[in-house]
Amino acid sequence: MAKQRGRGMAAIEYPTGMNQGGDPSQCWVKLKPDGRVDVLSGTVDLGQGAKTIQTQIVAEVLGVPTDWVTFDNSNTDTSPLCTGSFASRATFMGGNAARIAAERARERVLDIASRLLEVDAADLDIDEGEVFVKGATEKRVGVPDVAAAATWQFGELITGTGAYLKPYANVDPETGRTDRNPHAGISYGACVADVEVDDETGAVAVTKLIQVYDVGRAINPMFVEGQLQGGGIMGLSFGLLESSYPYYPSVEHRGSEFGSYLSASIEGLPEVETVLLENPDVDGPFGAKGVGEMASNGIGPAIVAAIHDAIGIWVTESPITPERVLRALDEKAGGGGEPRRDGKRYVFDESLSVNALATGISFEVNV
């Protein structure tokens, strides 16, 4: 009877946003008469940093400092539509809408500047808030002066709209082939969990998590790391503690408070190592892909594999409670060998979606 150590690994792939359309994002960028930039968008920032990231995208495209840019999602009724912050889509879909809107606003800035400088717009570039003639850097005009000229001299508004929707892939009913790739922005990740399993009490402690994610482009590396760490510990929590339906498929006894629904606390936090790989995606804004949701998906499986490495059992249900670990150990000791890797089978009837659970319809269960 002792604490046994093990290491496990899991790999994940995750397509950003929804496939086959259905989740568009829109954005509107406009310049105030003094050159400051308003970004009107419906993207909700849950704390993941969408406001900052879309601000960075617009500033980068327009060639102005980030503090000239105000991202306003304060009114999702009057702002252009964004279908939501889910499926890791805010940077990818909302960011693409912002990028396209900013590109169009940029064309308008160059158009007005070309009239002021009497130079062809194609020969102009913008950097640090100034429009200049490529190769002749002394001929320049500030974006604030361009915006002022648009307003007071030409009677125009510098603005750009952008929208993004993954194109629909038609399926040939004969061959099952699609006429284009139905996915976009597929992120990849791998995680390693080191565990210590007490084979007397069944308690599992995760001592280290290593997470390696291909994020396309980390537009804000600190925020991306925050997403991956947060998702990682959430995954650990799903793996070891959290259970929405402890007697699934019965919906009785759902945890209704933190005393009965456990989630990970700061206590016993593993060492967390996060590695970002940048493998730019052709469709993402500056190559970015979504990473929010997938960060919590691989940790549970990695823990399961680590437990197998430590004590030779496969735990086939989550959360991996001490009780489940001890049962699996008993089963092994009783000569039953390793429990089946695939464990319990639930027959899933598509007409009974998870939503149907709440209405009390129960699934047929084959054990």
Binding site: L46, G47, Q48, G49, M222, F223, E225, G226, Q229, G230, G231, G232, I233, M234, E257, F258, G259, S263, A264, S265, I266, E267, G268, L269, V272
Partner: protein, 151 residues
């Protein structure tokens, strides 16, 4: 009933059994303490009562009559951040921010009691504070940085 909240004396109308959380949020409009679970399980409502972290959801006003209450509003503001706030801000130790006021006041109290806390003491002091977003990693880093900065 009286309270000194962030240095200002208040005579209060709420009854003795009103949770301090509601006195602060509703009678005084001090909204940084969050009503997370209102049953003592999450730490989002934490404030300092005479310098000690307390769950304001479980603290009846009558039990703290005349006390000094400090919320994050009394610790620093956007133009004059407390070193703990500065560390949380710089190191991105807050995402949605719901746990943050509680985390920060608890950290301020910890560093007052123990200016150089080890990893274990940090975990102990913050173990009753649930954060759904950050995975705690950057919170630990921020507490360590704030402790380092106050050396």
């Amino acid at each position: 009933m009286k309270l000194n909240v962030n240095g200002v004396e208040h005579a209060l109308e709420s009854g003795a059994l009103t949770p301090l959380l509601h006195v602060l949020r509703e009678e005084l409009g001090v909204t940084s303490p969050k009503a997370g679970c209102q049953s003592g399980g999450c730490g989002a409502c934490t404030v300092l009562v005479d310098g000690e972290p307390r769950r304001s959801c479980l603290t009846p006003l009558g039990a703290v009559d005349g006390a000094e209450v400090t919320t994050i509003e009394g610790i620093g503001d956007a133009h004059d951040l407390h070193p703990v706030q500065e560390a949380f801000h710089t190191l991105h130790a807050a995402q949605c921010g719901f746990c943050t006021p509680g985390m920060i006041v608890a950290t301020v109290a910890l560093l007052k009691r123990l200016p150089q806390p080890g990893r274990r003491e940090i975990e102990r002091a913050l173990s009753g504070h649930i954060c759904r977003c950050t995975g705690y990693v950057k919170i630990v880093e921020a507490v360590e940085a704030a402790a380092g900065g106050s050396r």
